[in-house]
Symmetry: C2
Subunit: 218 residues, 2 copies
């Protein structure tokens, strides 16, 4: 007889196996190209409805993938926020947007499909909405954005939205491209995730503090 | 009897139909998920080997798609370069990287799949290499990059490479995301391709002139 605790542990293992299989298949083929049945099979489940049973729809599965990632980013970002206090240095606030992700990927090791899966999810508008709900709306992200924008009072609202989109696109795709290069064993310059973070933070400080052309301010 | 000129015109029409179908299918499903046979069918070709007959391998087809796009960008960029001469304003040189693409997409109209197809091509390393060969190596791109880097003597070589990658990722994915939003009829802020270009140029001027942290210079 299997205990209730044993059953729960086994269900949790199955869920993790499904999330890993989905992450890999989505990263390789795109979210729209993979069926729940294919994911169940790749996760070694005899029951082809395992994804539906454990998660629900594909959107529910994507939400679970995103949550597994953002739960860890949230912890890391809250620690960084505690460190910087009410810093007046824009770089500190932008670090809170970048380093949780690069530190997470560093800890994950090689090979990984997480950043590539997130990039694929981001290219499907309905799925991107899930990422925005699950990541942009967390307490640590709100605090980071508020802290950052407080130091950028002269950037008009429309330009803020535009630069927030650019920052998201740059981060999502730069992390995915580096993760893929590491998986393939090719040269991945810069050589560490920490150096990648530094380069991205420098660039984003420049992007956010860039002069705004007249077209926007008039 | 069909004249030789008539045959050549018909072959050209077929090639264009195949390029259009491939662009749409690649944009929607990803380059790796679509077979040459599916493209032939979508292009209305009774012969399922039409792609192979007219183009060769999938890499050859991708090269033809990229060339159709970059040939137009090249003309536009050469005109811009002639206008700016030996400008000492970084903004002018960065405009030569951005505006040919936004002007091209503006001329193309809605709906279009071109920018989304280019984004998909860019996510496959072997295919991205084709884009780099066909676009980064053109006379106008070399001239633009040389002109830009001449104004950035203090950026170390490793950081130049890194920021060139970031600029490529930001442009490719920002244009694709806006094209998709326009196709779907949703709100696409900023409201014109010209305003999109202005926002991207401002941001890239900031990105390229950003201070470089010690980690890179030591």
């Amino acid at each position: 007889m299997v205990s209730a605790a044993g059953k729960a542990a086994r269900a949790q293992e199955t869920r993790e196996a499904i999330l890993d299989a989905a992450e890999r298949l989505f990263a390789e083929h795109g979210v729209g190209e993979v069926s729940n049945r294919q994911i169940s099979e790749a996760a070694g489940q005899a029951n082809h409805f395992a994804v539906g049973y454990h998660f629900g729809t594909k959107a529910d599965l994507v939400r679970a993938i995103v949550r597994r990632y953002t739960a860890d980013l949230e912890e890391r970002r809250l620690r960084l926020l505690a460190e910087i206090g009410d810093s007046g240095d824009l770089r500190d606030w932008i670090s809170c947007l970048v380093r949780p992700a690069t530190d997470h990927l560093d800890a994950l090791g090689v090979p990984s499909r997480r950043a590539q899966c997130m990039a694929q999810i981001n290219t499907v508008p309905a799925m991107r909405q899930i990422v925005i709900e699950e990541s942009a709306a967390t307490p640590s992200m709100r605090a980071s954005l508020v802290g950052m924008l407080r130091l950028l009072p002269d950037v008009p609202a429309a330009v803020r939205r535009e630069r927030a989109d650019m920052s998201r696109l740059l981060l999502v795709h730069a992390l995915a491209e580096r993760e893929r290069a590491l998986n393939e064993g090719g040269p991945a310059a810069p050589t560490t995730w920490a150096a990648t973070a530094t380069g991205l933070i420098d660039a984003l400080v420049g992007l956010w503090t860039a002069a705004v052309s007249d077209e926007w301010t008039t």
